[in-house]
């Protein structure tokens, strides 16, 4: 494989400046004259390199700085210091040039023109990215097969459901066979079926064309299925950059059980829960945590040290359980352990 890096990120820092709004009338008046600046360090001194053809999971809790990093890579945000290079370009200096070679999905917000029909959107994208006729035809046939686009081809983007919109956005980002795909939460709010299709498309693109892909998600199974390498950031700082295996070894035994409970008195439940760690075999404060909110009890524990049955027995015998599910530990919990 080419030794040249596809993406280089060096000491990347972004500090936002916001202004405090004064409280009340006096405060508002005061802030008209003297505004108090607050500096938000969204990204702090982050460095990493990405090789062509890698699929990277870029993960972190809400507000960690993931989207901010991607915005700098797509050229719509200037770094405060440090630099980013994507392919041959510094994105924020050559935004238009860079744009020709990348595909972008921001799951939170469509990147398609709001009031155009989906069909016309693709016709326009074909023109602006100068996609050859035969490649366009084969891409559209593929997208139609995997995303079932024809179902809503005639609708305007504004009227699409979340899942349809995300399928359209993803197809649009891949149409011109970009060298790099930036996917910021491409599976947010989707059902399992659609998630599965999207993962398959991402894998296909990578295998067929060697597309380099940077992906953010809060869904651990996206990472498990797609990425060999993950980069974890928290509060703007780089926490981990390496193989998924190391993480799996360290946290692979972490499990989470979520119970739906019915109860009248939350404090009574809390009191009973305090006896969970002392009374279940193997439970220690450092391998078991729980939290209760709005009828949901979440217990995180290490499967190697604590038996699932012990926890199940305790909860089932002390509370009225309506439902429960056992899950792998989620990304937020992993980040907290670092």
């Amino acid at each position: 494989m080419n030794e040249k890096n596809m993406i280089e990120v060096h000491n990347l820092t972004k500090t936002f400046t916001a202004y405090k709004k004064g409280k009340g009338l006096a405060g508002t008046l005061k802030s008209l004259f003297k505004r108090e600046a607050i500096h938000i360090e969204a990204v702090k001194d982050i460095s990493f390199d990405i090789k062509p053809g890698e699929i990277i999971g870029y993960i972190g809790a809400n507000g960690a700085g993931k989207s901010t990093t991607i915005k700098m890579m797509t050229g719509i945000l200037n770094p405060t210091s440090g630099y980013v290079k994507v392919g041959d370009y510094i994105p924020y200096e050559k935004r238009q040039e860079n744009a020709k070679h990348i595909g972008v999905v921001f799951g939170q917000k469509t990147q398609l023109w709001w009031d155009l029909p989906v069909g016309e959107t693709f016709a326009i994208l074909k023109e602006i990215y100068q996609v050859p006729d035969d490649f366009y035809a084969s891409q559209m046939a593929y997208f139609d097969e995997i995303f079932e686009l024809s179902e809503f081809m005639g609708q305007t983007v504004r009227t699409l459901s979340l899942g349809q919109r995300m399928r359209a956005d993803l197809a649009a980002s891949m149409l011109h066979n970009p060298k790099v795909l930036f996917l910021d939460e491409p599976t947010i709010g989707l059902d399992v079926m659609v998630k599965e299709r999207i993962r398959k498309a991402i894998k296909d693109m990578n295998q067929r064309y060697g597309t380099t892909i940077l992906l953010t998600t809060h869904d651990m199974s996206d990472i498990e299925e797609l990425c060999h390498r993950i980069i974890i950031i928290d509060k703007g700082k780089l926490l981990y950059d390496g193989g998924i295996d190391t993480i799996r070894k360290e946290f692979g035994y972490e499990r989470k059980i979520v119970f739906d409970l019915r109860y009248d008195d939350a404090t009574l439940v809390e009191q009973t829960l305090e006896t969970l760690i002392p009374s279940v075999d193997g439970c220690q404060p450092d391998n078991t945590t729980y939290q209760l909110s709005e009828g949901q009890l979440t217990v995180n524990f290490n499967r190697n040290q604590v038996g699932v049955s012990g926890i199940m027995n305790f909860v089932l015998s002390h509370f009225n359980v309506l439902d429960f599910s056992v899950q792998d530990m989620d990304i937020e919990a992993i980040v907290k352990r670092f």
Partner: protein
Amino acid sequence: MKKLLRTYLPFTKAVMQGFMAYRMNFYVYILGELFQTVVLIYIWFAIFSSATSEVIQGFTFKQMVGYVVMSTLTSMLIGNEVHWDISQDVKSGRIATNLIKPVNYQLLKFFNCIGNIGINLTFLFLPLWGGYTIFDFISNGVIPNITNGLLYLVSVSLSALILFYINYLFGLAAFFIEYVFGFIFAKEAILKLLSGQLIPLTFFPKGLFNVFKFLPFAGLVYTPTMIYLGKFSEEDLLFNLGVQAVWVLLLMALTQLVWRKAIKRLTILGG
């Protein structure tokens, strides 16, 4: 050229299709404009009946009616929504859509603007102008002058460009200030006066008129209307068309400059 049209014409079509959904708003707004026109004609009627001479500032009453009608039609024809659209794009963050793609935002908005003008032409200008011309022929025996009509087309095209650029600039203001609404409303009021939509610019005191005729606003309504009515001498005609053309070029350059500043600001502050 063909590629350009294939890329951007859908943005014109989208505006025209969107119009079907909002046409009631459109007609209510137009009703207000027409009411204003009737009031204006009535005021001129009162002025002319109490005046000592038949001609005021070179206008007879009939010519003045012609001015009021054609200036209203002209301003209806060139109107666009570009300023509102841009400020929406900026506020909602949807502007990013256009920044992560190799697409020309100004061209895109220009083709939106053509959509606005297409609607104005088909649903307003042509029917109202036709009605007025027939009425003028039946009651006054007036047949429109072909040369003036063609020159009007040239001039009104420049007007449309000038208004596009002005509105584009006001739209870009959303990058710099939080409340563009006030600005845009102030702009509309000032335009009404300085473009000659309310009264011919020649009615202003000489000193003011000599300033106003050099401003881009005169080129919006006053110039094409006077051309249509054949009220310009050859010299005036060339001068006023020249002023329009120069402003088109100046505004074109200015929009590039402001766009660059706006993007710079956006990429530093964050959307």
